[in-house]
């Protein structure tokens, strides 16, 4: 190489290669196991209504939050029988994607 290029490392199948990394590779998000006790916003939008309070017992399928996104009202429902631990949003809040809106725990 004529000019000096700063090299990084990349491990592929047990071997460590000297190379450069692309911005896309550097900015990739590390995978995290989803927490089943957190209800995330699946789409950016606006909270219309919060139908539960902390400590409230909720059955599977009951609506927790009404979220408006892309001109649609989406019911965010309880995935299993359990209890609401914490509520992080209130009506008129705008949430981005993957924001933890409600914390729950199983019965």
């Amino acid at each position: 190489m004529s000019e000096e290029i700063k090299l990084d490392h990349l491990v592929v199948q047990g071997a460590m290669y000297k190379t450069t990394l692309t911005p896309k590779f550097k900015h990739r998000k590390a995978w995290k196991a989803p927490n089943p006790n957190l209800i995330y916003s699946f789409i950016p939008g606006t909270v219309i209504d919060v139908l539960v309070k902390p400590g409230q017992k909720v059955k599977e399928g009951e609506t927790l939050v009404l979220l408006e996104a892309m001109k649609m009202h989406n019911s965010i429902v309880m995935p299993f029988d359990g209890e609401v631990v914490k509520v992080n949003v209130q009506p008129k809040d705008s949430v981005s994607k993957k924001e933890p809106m409600i914390e729950i725990r199983p019965k």
């Binding site: 071997a15 190379t19 692309t22």
Partner: protein, 514 residues
Amino acid sequence: MSLKRNILDLRKRKEEIQKGGGEEAIEKQAQMGKLTARERIISILDENSFHEYDMFVEHAARDFGMEDKILHGDGVIIGTGTIYNKPVCIFAQDFTVAGGSLGLMHAQKITKIMDHALKMRVPLIGINDSGGARIQEGVNSLAGYGEIFFRNTLASGVIPQISVILGPCAGGAVYSPALTDFVFVVENISKMFITGPGVIKSVLGEDISMEELGGARVHAQVTGNAHFFAKNEKECFEQIKKLITYIPWNNKEKAQPFPAKPPKKSKKVERIVPTDPKIPYDMREIIKAITDGSEFLEIMELFAPNIIIGFGRMDGETVGFVANQPMVLAGVLDTDSSDKAARFIRYCDAFNIPIVTLEDLPGYLPGVDQEHAGVIRHGAKILYAYSEATVPKITVILRKAYGGGYIAMNSRHLRADFVFAWPAAEIAVMGPEGAANIVFRKEIMEAEDPEAMRLQKIQEYKEKFANPYVAAAKGYIDEVIEPEETRSRILHALKVSKNKNISMPVKKHGIPPF
């Protein structure tokens, strides 16, 4: 009565139409570094070769007060001309006329020249600079887009289709360029997106500028929608004129041959490549060391730079190069590089351009993000493209060819015509490090000094399997060659492959992994 008066009248009419949207609108565009639609066409074509049609077409909008408006040429210029004395069809949207918006007649002019290009089997160049659908014309403008997309698809693989994005190209309009072979973008001028920043902000609350959302650099680097990136319009036109020298005029022809010339004197190829397979080098130096005049036109230079694609000439004939780039991400295959290479292979195959593959890769890029992005589906595209390609296919393995990467990079098993390997090439199911850890796992674990044992076993594996002779012994490699022979071997292989003629099973079409 003489025709003189009519002729003068005609001239006056034409002069009026050629003003486009008027001086003020033109000045506004010029301030952004934009030429007028007519200037753009003239810059791309041979001098005095442009012939325009449908100049007097009038728009079809009859509502919202549009009926009283005069839109010169309905915002688009179509015509034919020549580049290096060979015929092409061309259209250019004129942003100065109603924002280059697409209505029924505007679309009909474009489809007229598209039909002509396909009928006459000549390349089509489309210059896009439009605010989008003409809302006042309603479904008629949607119909117009649909008719254009349909023709793009019909012409795909028959005539070269080149899209030049010299302004906004938003909403449905983006799909015409996306269906064409090569997309050219210019910094600060090209803007492509399905939904603009305004809608994204109001619906999703995400604040992003037009440039960050769909500017030239984004499409050249991140999305892979653009193939050529230029700093200004002039450079863009030069790129188009350069590209067009490498490609045939249609799928029944071959690219125009040029006088053969040797590569420029450069470093010996074996000096470019370090012996340690873990140390990188710039694969472009190898390509330039073997092409005529050391010339190489790289395509999609900024997108997925871990693989290199582009055109060069060998003994005067156009060759498509596909090469792993050890300098970036160690040259691995991943979703983006697979897409990039696969489409180029299909382009070469459709247009009778032989493919030379230069191989040096450690395998596929590991990671959850890659798996979840569908590296299986995307990686399969390369296998599909190489397998279905019937043009001459030549592979040179420089250093590493491991595992799935070995198979994918135009191996004998996908019907490569000639496969060569340099003497230090490691052709194996995986690199010595990974393999030793698995094969000799027990020995390494039970050894007094596991690390020393590991190194010893890596060395053992290297000597036994990580060389080209195991594959050569089975005939998977046709010949182990000296690096200096690379050009002469490829030249000969191309020469003897000139009349290659194989037939594939008859089918309507395959179902490639998209």
